[in-house]
């Protein structure tokens, strides 16, 4: 079976650690060679060898990262195709750049579960694992779909929709000229097409700029720190970030607004949200804070629920425990340095023991246990690495770039008097790629547009 070449980040992302980009397919070696600078050319490399060098954008000369590249030729590889793995040192930003660079060539981003699928289809994975393979594909696709849906509500998506609408209007106009040549609609000229395409390119450039600044989406597993006032939530944030970002006082109700920080725990990126302590309050400002805490709670992928070990469990906390029954929760019992009053038996009845961490933030104990608990949840797959979110961001950028280049070709064609039906090929491609960004299927919408925009008939 002929396959194209695919790439994806294959290890969880972390700032300190090494992230690996896996490339698989008939052109894997050539594609990596295109961006790889080393003593010996990669194409001459023997199978199962590791090579030191740099990932370089050979067009601009920009050196992106210092890497170790492993070459595994098919069929002795995970997918039974030629596989190249790039171990990047430089953390999130550079991994992303390396992948971006790869995707400017003939490599495309892998679909969820595609490596596993290829491994299976190429006979590398046992028959008995077929169902497991399917589950991986299903789970990853569903997760990707959820992320896409989430994004579809955002402002990026609104702008892309508008852009697509302008393109589909243009396309409908071109199509009417083709399919109804004798109708009295305005003749489509190359000059007109050119202006429209150029306007679209300008807008894509704007989108790309904001995408690259990371504004499209923040990265990291959304992790909310919640609990009653004064249990030590802000202290936890400060300990994890090793900075004094949040104000810590002995006055309950100190934190009034959501504080956001990024940390990595064992290579797992977390977007930490410190929230106002949840309680009934008559203070208007605090009420707003509590409201925000609840929103953060609803959106979080992972919840760190903090208790004060020196106090008995409060009714509000019982309620929270109930509400969070189906969620990814780690319970932190803080202030173990003080005499304990908290009913541990009750907690262990409600929560798995490995999900409960006892710590004293004041004495900085229990931190390793907390990190271990987070990793365990993460690697068991209960919290999906948001590398899908992240990859979908990379994928967006790649698609936006492709759409831009398609429109560039259309503009060029329009300048050199290429007939409109041929220019349409490129316009349509751009429109489809933009659709992929927001998960809009191609469907019948072009025809719908033709018939609603123009009055046709016999």
């Amino acid at each position: 079976m002929i396959h194209d070449t695919i790439a994806a980040i294959s290890t969880p992302l972390g700032e300190g650690g090494i992230a690996v980009i896996r490339v698989s397919g008939p052109e894997a070696i050539a594609e990596v060679e295109r961006v790889f600078q080393s003593k010996k050319p990669l194409s001459a490399a023997a199978t199962h060898t590791v090579h030191y060098g740099f990932i370089v954008n050979k067009e601009t000369g920009e050196r992106i990262d210092e890497v170790l590249v492993t070459v595994m030729k098919g069929p002795r590889s995970f997918t039974a195709e030629d596989v190249v793995e790039i171990g990047c040192h430089g953390g999130i930003v550079s991994v992303k750049k390396v992948l971006d660079l790869l995707l400017t060539g003939r490599t495309r981003i892998a679909e969820p579960g595609e490596f596993t699928k290829r491994a299976f289809l190429n006979g590398r994975i046992d028959l008995s694992q077929a169902e497991a393979v399917i589950d991986v594909i299903r789970a990853k696709s569903d997760r990707a779909y959820q992320i896409a849906m989430k994004q579809a509500e955002g402002s990026l998506s609104a702008r892309i929709k508008k852009l697509r609408h302008e393109l589909v209007e243009l396309m409908a106009h071109i199509e009417v000229n083709i399919d109804y040549p004798e109708h009295d609609v305005e003749e489509m000229t190359n000059a007109f097409i050119r202006t429209r395409c150029e306007a679209a390119i300008t807008e894509i450039d704007r989108l790309l700029k904001s995408a690259e600044q990371g504004k499209i989406m923040r990265e990291g597993i959304v992790t909310a720190i919640v609990g009653r006032p004064n249990v030590g939530k802000s202290s936890l944030l400060n300990t994890l970030t090793q900075e004094n970002k949040a104000i810590v006082t002995d006055i309950p109700g100190t934190t009034r607004d959501v504080i956001e920080e990024y940390v990595t725990v064992n290579g797992i990126p977390l977007r930490l949200l410190d929230t106002a302590g949840i309680r009934e309050t008559s203070d208007v400002v605090e009420q707003i804070g509590v409201e925000k805490s609840r929103t953060a709670l609803a959106e979080a992928d992972l919840i760190l629920l903090v208790f004060n070990g020196s106090e008995p469990i409060h009714e509000d906390e019982r309620l929270l425990l109930e509400q969070l029954a189906d969620r990814n929760v780690i319970v932190i019992v803080n202030k173990t340095d003080l005499p304990q009053q908290l009913e541990m038996e009750e907690l262990t009845r409600r929560i798995d023991a490995e999900r409960i961490v006892r710590m004293s933030l004041q004495e900085e104990s229990g931190i390793d246990e907390l990190e271990a608990a987070i990793s365990a949840i993460f690697f068991s797959g209960q919290v999906e690495s948001n590398d899908l979110t992240y990859v979908s961001n990379v994928r967006h950028i790649a698609l936006l770039k492709q759409a831009k280049s398609a429109l560039g070709e259309a503009t060029e064609a329009a300048e050199s008097f290429v007939p409109i039906d041929m220019i349409q090929i490129d316009v349509r491609r751009a429109w489809e790629q933009l659709g992929e960004v927001i998960g809009d299927s191609v469907g019948d919408s072009l025809l719908d547009q033709i018939f609603s925009q123009f009055c046709l008939g016999k």
Partner: protein
């Protein structure tokens, strides 16, 4: 009162554009064929516009011809006007359109059918299908005649439970006041086929002598007409007739607006879904209220008739309103209306019940083609007709079915759309429905399909030989242009100056020159003529294949990428319910459509890429398991 009246290989019911192609194909492929139709005077009748072709539709006529069908040859002999449309655009969308002498067309088709071996033509109204154990065995007519067959092709157009509607008037009827087919529709429903109600319409016809042509604009045919059929070499001897262009007036619009309460479109009398691309004039005026005027083309219906078709004025308004509408149009102030326009409602088979061979999934041996499948247009009907005929014959003969790919023909696009996606309105082909428009050109229909037509047995040896010769000469000429270099000599520079492009600095091959937008094949010929004689069609082929090579390759690459998906077959006995991990919606949609390939499955609505991945893994598993069992 029933009696056994005969036994055939194939029975075709309805001699419209689909039925004629179907019956001719089966007979020519060696099947003893019976063609039954309600009225022998209505064979290949054009109940609506007197024209054939146009964008996408003209392409289809070329394809039918390339496969060995008849529509192209017949319109070439009976046209009264021929125009090549879209000549200012790319070669892929050039489209031939003919005005037909609709009466002559009919007569000629009847003659062809009567003269064909293996083909029996008989008048009769089929009222019932004979089906045993899910297999279609024959038909029963109104007179009690039972005809038995191994395959039956239903091509009944808009006759099924047809109903004409005009203003307050409504009556059961086929098109043009023909007898409708009421009982057959019931029979199909009882057999378990799902039917939908569609609607279409036609404008009034007027008397030529009452038109003031001086107030209209003349629309002549091409001085040098091109033809649909690759076999036609000569035009009919008679002069071409022009059409005439006029427009609705503000008065037309106000007449319509003040009579909307009498329009069945808006009074609720019409239940069927009409096509968006072919709205009635009242619909257009309501939906596009700000458009001050609409084009109307006056088209002769034939040489020996005074009837003119008023294209653009399809309507189901009451007769008196139709007349005042007509008379409000410049040039038609004193017009006599000879036939009124009307809307017609009819039953159609939901086409997702068909295999891509056009055989019904429910009843083996029963094929449906044409307007009964929810399409509109003579060309779309003819295309389905020939394919249903080919597949019926091949089934009878125990051969593999023939299914055209979307990248191979508009016919492939048409049938795949119908059986995979279905249609919510009468389906019309448009070039924008084809994703590989540049490959499905008007000029290369023979290259795409004639070898297949020959293999099937519908293209004669003689024609095939000519085709191969054309192909070879084109290839040789392209090779020669690749090999031949010209130096910057004066006669070359002069040609380039004349073409309006820059002069040469170095020796250059002819292919590179031809790729310049300003340079045509004719220019090259003036400096380096081909050593062997080439026809105009061959030269055109050379030019297109070279000039647009870049774009063509892009599309070929796309096709290549998807090919493996198209070729990956899905076994007949797959139980989607058992496919672990498939989304529920995908399960139910796939179980209904039962796609033959992964490619087809991916086009079923509600099936997403993850479902396709899962299906691929499942199939691999399935194949390994079945292989292990053996």
């Amino acid at each position: 009162m029933g009696y056994v009246a005969g036994e055939y290989d194939v029975i075709v019911i309805g001699a419209g554009h689909a039925g004629c192609e179907a019956a001719l194909a089966t007979a020519r492929m060696g099947c003893n064929t019976l063609l039954l139709t309600i009225n022998l005077d209505m064979i290949a009748f054009m109940p609506c516009n007197p024209s054939i072709g146009g964008p996408a539709k003209g392409h289809v006529v070329r394809e039918v011809d390339a496969l060995g069908g008849e529509m192209g040859r017949h319109i070439d002999k009976t046209f009264i006007q021929m125009r090549m449309l879209n000549t200012g655009k790319g070669p892929a969308v050039h489209a031939l359109r003919a005005q037909a002498d609709k009466f002559q067309y009919q007569h000629l088709m009847k003659e062809t059918i009567e003269a064909t071996d293996n083909l029996t033509l008989r008048q009769g109204m089929v009222e019932e299908l004979i089906v045993e154990d899910g297999v279609c065995k024959g038909v029963v007519t109104k007179t009690g005649a039972q005809y038995m067959a191994k395959a039956v092709v239903l091509t009944t157009g808009t006759y099924l439970r047809g109903k004409i509607i005009m203003g307050e008037l409504m009556y059961e009827s086929g098109p043009n006041n023909q007898q409708p087919s009421i009982k057959l529709s019931e029979s199909l429903r009882q057999l378990g086929l799902e039917l939908v109600r569609f609607k279409t319409g036609t404008p009034p016809r007027v008397h030529k002598d009452t038109i003031d042509f001086s107030k209209t604009e003349i629309q002549p045919g091409d001085a040098e007409p091109k033809f649909f059929s690759y076999e036609t070499t000569e035009a009919p001897k008679e002069e071409q007739l022009p059409c005439w262009l006029t427009y609705t007036s503000p008065e037309t619009h106000s007449i319509i607006n003040s009579n909307l309460h009498r329009a069945p479109m808006f009074s609720g009398a019409i239940e069927g879904t009409g096509p968006r691309y072919c709205p009635s004039i009242e619909d257009k005026i309501v939906r596009f209220a700000d458009k001050p005027k609409h084009q109307l083309f006056l088209e002769p219906e034939g040489r020996n008739t005074s009837e003119y078709y008023v294209q653009g004025l399809s309507t189901s308004m009451p007769e008196d309103v139709q007349l005042s509408m007509l008379r409000s149009v410049p040039g038609l102030e004193k017009v006599e209306m000879m036939r009124n326009g009307y809307a017609i409602e009819y039953d159609a088979v939901v086409p997702t019940q068909l295999w891509p061979t056009l055989e019904t999934k429910l009843i083996s041996g029963l094929f449906t083609a044409g307007q009964i499948n929810g399409t509109s247009g003579y060309e779309e009907a003819a295309a389905q007709g020939i394919m249903a005929g080919i597949n019926a014959a091949r089934k009878v003969q125990g051969k593999e079915p023939v299914i055209l790919e979307r990248s191979q023909a508009y016919i492939g696009v048409l049938i795949d759309d119908l059986v995979t996606k279905g249609t919510a309105e009468p389906y019309r082909l448009l070039t924008s429905r084809a994703e590989y428009r540049l490959l499905l050109r008007h000029d290369n229909a023979d290259l795409r399909l004639t070898p297949l037509g020959h293999e099937i047995g519908l293209i004669s040896e003689e024609r095939h030989r000519k085709f191969l010769e054309k192909k070879e000469r084109v290839e040789q000429e392209i090779e020669r242009l690749k090999q031949t270099k010209v130096k910057p000599e004066e006669h070359v520079q002069q040609m380039l100056r004349e073409a309006g492009t820059v002069e040469l600095n170095n020796a250059t091959d002819l292919i590179t020159l031809l790729k310049r937008p300003e340079v045509s094949y004719a220019h090259l010929e003036s400096i380096s003529p081909s050593p062997v004689e080439l026809t105009d069609e061959m030269k055109e082929q050379v030019e297109i294949q070279i000039k647009y090579a870049g774009y063509i390759e892009k599309q070929l690459l796309q096709v290549e990428r998807l090919r493996k998906m198209e070729q990956k077959r899905i076994p007949d006995d797959i139980v989607y319910e058992d496919v672990h991990g498939l989304a529920n919606e995908a399960k139910s949609r796939l179980a209904k459509i039962r796609p033959l390939s992964i490619g087809q499955a991916s086009r079923v609505s509600g099936v997403n890429p993850a479902d396709i991945s899962i299906l691929l893994v499942y199939l691999e598993h399935y194949n390994q398991v079945t292989a292990a069992k053996k």
